[in-house]
């Protein structure tokens, strides 16, 4: 229950946080704590230093910047859910955030924490992948933008270097896009057994101009099912076609097998939810 001892640092600036991150050994970043603190309480994680980003000002703003929206890493899921700007200009994020955990988790959990933690069943990773978002990492060597398709490496592994901090997420303003996030939720926690984020654009004739899907819960990281997208891009989205395309959502994917779903069932659920998410986006 009680974590192993550690030193607690509460920097007041990003610079200070980065310096600490570089200077200390065996260090973890504390954002919302919804993923890290449980691991520490179970003594599965025993960092010697904890850097709390919570007192650094300016890390939770949401602002429009040209054709993008810049979201601070410490923006909570609740703030994503209730943001008027996002609801109008990038609804996939509030749609996804509203399905995360419960009220308390949404009050505390942050988008930066969620992406940096890269839980294979995380909801926001699927959404940002479908949005083609970019992630800003800041470290002692400066700052860089990482495309989401280059960000998620594997089970709890991302492109972030150990001395970098995720500070912002840049998402596109969606013009005429139809979005949805659906998941088969685990009891109790609402975690995705399978989650599908769908982002579509139709051309004036009603054909599929653009489609991007983010799949979570299926394998060790979130991914874009290229097969499915290729089959639907440029076509008229008839039910039968969507169904056929959805059946390929797990092609070449190593599907997870655990107490929440066998490989076989999960594969099936992924197809069902891919179909349903696309249909839901169409109706949006």
């Amino acid at each position: 229950m009680i974590p192993a001892t550690f030193e607690y640092h509460s920097p007041r600036s990003l610079r200070e946080a980065i310096d600490l991150l570089s200077a200390k050994e065996d260090v973890k970043i504390l954002a919302g704590g919804q993923s890290l603190v449980p691991l520490m309480k179970l003594r599965l994680a025993k960092p010697k230093h904890l850097i709390d980003l919570g007192r650094i000002p300016g890390l939770n703003t949401i602002k429009e910047q040209g054709e993008s929206i810049l979201i601070g890493a410490l923006t909570t899921h609740a703030e994503l859910e209730s943001s008027e700007l996002l609801r109008r200009r990038c609804p996939l994020l509030p749609q996804t955030a509203s399905t995360i955990g419960d009220v308390q988790v949404r009050s505390q959990g942050t988008i930066g924490g969620s992406l940096a933690h890269a839980d294979p069943a995380g909801d926001l990773p699927a959404a940002v992948l479908a949005l083609g978002a970019e992630i800003k990492a800041v470290g002692p060597r400066g700052e860089r933008w990482i495309r989401t398709e280059d960000f998620f490496f594997g089970l709890l592994m991302t492109a972030l270097e150990p001395d970098e901090i995720l500070t912002d997420i840049k998402v596109p303003v969606l013009e005429r896009a139809r979005t949805a996030y659906l998941k088969a939720a685990q009891r109790t926690s609402g975690f995705a057994v399978v989650g599908v984020a769908a982002c579509l654009k139709l051309d004036p004739a009603g054909g599929c101009e653009e489609i991007a899907l983010g799949i979570t819960g299926v394998t060790d990281k979130t991914y874009r099912p290229d097969d499915v997208e290729t089959r639907l891009r440029g076509k008229k989205l008839e039910t039968k076609l969507i169904e056929e395309a959805a059946s390929g959502v797990c092609r070449n994917v190593d599907v997870l097998d655990d107490i929440n779903g066998s490989k076989e069932y999960r594969t099936h659920l992924a197809r069902v939810y891919t179909f349903r998410a696309i249909e839901a986006a169409l109706r949006a």
């Binding site: 009680i2 009891r187 109790t188 107490i259 099936h268 197809r271 069902v272 179909f275």
Partner: protein, 815 residues
């Protein structure tokens, strides 16, 4: 006197104000000066020998004052003697508070540390080194049945630790006479009611008086009291039980191990020691409800009459023999359910496995018995092309036969099962639903309805197990005993002391209602007692926090004590008012004599006399206004102690209910949505409707959750994969359906107020109700529901397999 001014009404609860203000008094809220904090080292292996335990480094860790190892436990304590729960054990197997030379389940306690603060204790725990020699884990029940599986208890030789058969009536004749034999095999899984507050205890030893005091959230004081005296050889033990954060049978049995461990730390360190269990520990080691497999056969006539029922059950009791047969013996309580069958045979097998030991979780074997009955009824209906309702109606005990004696000796006090069933059918709109079901099936929707009935027995008879184990060496006692004390204070208020602890069933409130009606005083003038204190409380063998026992023993004791107190009050008042006791009336705490409105005396005035004014007392009057009453069930004669015919009153009162549930199954995901869940319940005279309803809602919600997915999962190495509530699958507000209840009370002629049990209640039929409804929904696909839980994947597989295992991937027409 207003006989039922309070009984029958929902009054403002007495416990609620402190809880909504955060002023409950739970064990962890108690602090003693100089108190240490304990943590427990648990086995990471399912099955292993303990070669060596080295706690030196832990003992030397800063802040640590005491360590307990298996060697300490063996030298400083005596083992628990196999008790009533271990009935059937042929060789004496003594279990200690911790593992000693072997561990038999992941999470089994091995050692413990007490330190100045919890963090230091946990740090020190990591310094204890234990050399284990892992042994092959016995996990699968079938493997455990095999004589070649590695034995958990060498003394027993085999893991099939008990088998037995009990037959009532003439089962061979029944099967010979039958028009048809209907068979089914069923399975239910391991689960738990997971009380939100895990185990907690504080032990404090006063060396000068050699008195051990423990504060513990245990349900049955006697278990703790006996365990401490047996294990530690202490005569003077005091057990204090404050508010309990939920119990459900989880806090009866294995909790005694931890009280002994904590007490040992207290004795060694000479300081009070507090131990608070973590959720993950509770999931691994506090106890599970037994996984059971049933092989059922019913001998039936063409009209659906069940001539005889025969079943074989295999109970996976986990890594201890101390609860060897409880899930089997408890079936005597509801063996014939609500049916008039005369011939019934039960065969039991208990296997030990390398999993958490089983404990008497809510229902204890009775949900299994009801599952057997209600699944076989549906199967019979199918086999005979009758409706599942008809089959049940044909077999129900008719209302004019009460009190009704079952073939195994239960005397059902009262009931009207056909009326419960009828009301349930009416309120759920059964016929209308069937039409809707037909229409919607054509559109591809899978709607289903399940209607089941279940009896809820109540009121313990300690002699019950003699029916199966007449050779029990330790006399288990018989019937039940519990007491209550009522005192009229000298300021005219009343103090009520129960003989049982309290864990959310509103015992303080309902007992105050009963006392208030008898005494003629407002419930607001009655103060009730929590904590339970074994030094002061009038407790007996039936002192147990359970709705099952409370309604009979505690209410009976309160009724008796209040009645006796009223007699004393009237005797004194009669003397003071110069009237005859029979002429007096009581209203609102004032005794009135006829003749003049001035001829009255208040309780406060009587109190002042009784506690201080000898001259005004009648001759021979025992001073004071306090009475204690120990209740035993007055109508227990028939079948109280089983004779050679093995007939016994397993319990004394019999509530019953009909459950009706409508579900929809999403064929593509296997998810089951409960659209309506209705209970029509007979709990006898209801003392407080909201309390009884709360018990029904809570127990139904749990049964539904068990049926639809919550449960424990072990891997083949005996590792528990579900140690968090999340992985286990506990239901939140989002997974729990709305539940409706209608009361249909049929008073008991035998109890003080006509009241019957309400506690285990809806947990008994609800798994069967869900199974029935899901099967009904999937009938057109040829699915049979035989196993729980019905997780989405399990349902999806049932559908897939029924369709030849080759379901076309077609997701249109999805909901």
């Amino acid at each position: 006197m207003a006989e039922t001014k309070y009984v029958g009404k929902t009054i403002r609860g007495k416990e609620a104000p402190r809880h909504v203000s955060g002023r409950g008094n739970f064990v962890d809220d108690i602090v003693l000066r100089g108190m240490l904090h304990a943590v427990i080292l648990r086995s990471p292996h399912a099955h292993a020998r303990i070669a060596k335990v080295d706690a030196e480094a832990a003992l030397n860790h800063p802040g640590v004052l005491s360590v307990v190892t298996p060697a300490d436990v063996q030298s400083m304590t005596r083992p628990f003697k196999p008790g009533r729960y271990a009935a059937g054990l042929t060789k004496p197997i003594f279990e200690y508070a911790t593992a000693v030379d072997k561990v038999r389940y992941v999470g089994e306690p091995v050692a413990a540390v007490a330190a100045r603060d919890r963090g230091s204790a946990e740090d020190a725990l990591e310094l204890i080194s234990v050399d284990y020699e892992p042994l092959p884990a016995v996990v699968d029940t079938r493997d455990a049945m095999s004589p070649t599986s590695p034995p958990l208890f060498e003394e027993l030789g085999a893991n099939l630790a008990w088998r037995g058969v009990l037959t009532y009536g003439n089962i061979e004749a029944a099967f010979a006479e039958a028009d048809q034999i209907v068979r089914e095999r069923l399975k239910i899984h391991r689960y738990s009611s997971t009380p939100l507050e895990p185990f907690a205890c504080i032990a404090s030893f006063d060396a000068s008086t050699q008195k051990l005091t423990v504060w513990v959230n245990a349900q049955v004081p006697e278990v703790i009291y006996d365990a401490l005296r047996e294990a530690l050889g202490l005569e003077d033990v005091r057990v204090i039980i404050p508010d309990i954060g939920g119990s459900f049978g989880q806090k009866i049995h294995l909790i005694r191990k931890y009280v002994v461990i904590t007490s040992l730390l207290a004795l060694k360190s000479r300081r009070p020691v507090k131990w608070i269990e973590d959720r993950s520990e509770h999931m691994m080691a506090a106890g599970h409800a037994c996984a059971q497999e049933f092989d059922v056969e019913a001998a039936v006539k063409r009209d659906g009459t069940v001539l005889g029922l025969r079943f074989k059950e295999i109970d996976d009791v986990g890594g201890s023999v101390s609860t060897l047969t409880i899930h089997f013996t408890n079936k005597l309580n509801n063996l014939t359910n609500t049916y008039k069958v005369q011939n019934i045979s039960m065969e039991g097998y208990s296997v030990v496995t390398n999993k958490c030991p089983v404990v008497p979780n809510r229902g204890i074997g009775k949900p299994g018995m009801c599952f057997i009955w209600e699944r076989i009824m549906d199967r019979i209906a199918e086999a005979l092309s009758l409706s599942p309702i008809e089959v049940r109606q044909v077999n129900l005990v008719p209302p004019d036969q009460f009190p009704y004696t079952t073939p195994n000796g239960n005397v059902y006090d009262s009931g009207d099962y056909p009326a419960l069933l009828q009301q349930a059918l009416k309120s759920i709109g059964y016929e209308k639903f069937r039409e809707e079901q037909r229409r919607e099936r054509e559109k591809g929707r899978l709607l289903g309805i399940g209607v089941v009935v279940g009896v809820e027995p109540g009121g313990r008879n300690a002699a019950r197990d003699l029916a199966i184990f007449p050779e029990m060496k330790e006399t288990p006692g018989s019937g039940g005993v519990n007491g209550a004390t009522i005192k009229l204070e000298k300021n005219g208020t009343v103090a009520l002391f129960l003989g049982s602890p309290n864990s959310g069933q509103s015992h303080e409130t309902t007992s105050a209602q009963v006392a208030a009606d008898i005494l003629g005083i407002s419930t607001e003038k009655i103060s009730t007692s929590t904590p339970f204190d074994s030094d002061l409380a009038p407790w007996g063998v039936a002192a147990a926090n359970s709705g099952n026992n409370f309604h009979l023993y505690d209410i009976g004791a309160v009724h008796g004590a209040a009645t006796r107190l009223k007699e004393k009050i009237l005797k004194l008042a009669a003397h003071v008012l110069d009237a005859a006791p029979a002429e007096l009336t009581i209203e609102n705490g004032t005794v009135h004599a006829p003749g003049s409105p001035l001829k009255k005396v208040t309780f406060a005035e009587l109190g002042k006399i009784a506690y201080g004014n000898q001259a005004l007392m009648p001759k021979g009057f025992e001073a004071g206004l306090q009475t204690t009453f120990y209740y035993t069930f007055p109508h227990a004669d028939t079948n109280l102690v089983p004779g050679s015919d093995r007939k016994v009153r397993a319990q004394f009162t019999f509530s019953a209910a009909a459950h009706a549930v409508i579900v929809e199954v999403d064929r593509h995901t296997g998810k089951v949505h409960v659209l309506r869940y209705l209970i029509v319940s007979d709990n006898g005279v209801v003392i407080n409707p909201r309390v009884v309803e709360g018990q029904a809602y809570g127990s139904a919600a749990h049964g539904i959750s068990v049926a639809l997915g919550e449960g424990f999962i072990y891997n083949s190495e005996g590792q528990l994969l579900t140690i968090t509530l999340t992985d286990y699958g506990k239901s939140s507000t989002l997974e729990t359906p709305r539940i409706e209840i209608e009361h249909h009370p049929v008073p008991s002629p035998f109890t003080a107020l006509g009241q019957k049990a309400a506690g285990e209640g809806a947990a008994i039929p609800s798994p069967a109700a869900i199974a029935s409804a899901v099967e009904d929904a999937l009938r057109p696909l040829g699915v049979k529901v035989r196993e729980l839980p019905l997780t989405p994947e399990a349902v999806w597989r049932l559908i897939k397999n029924a369709q030849g295992g080759n379901s076309k991937f077609e997701i249109r027409n999805s909901k």
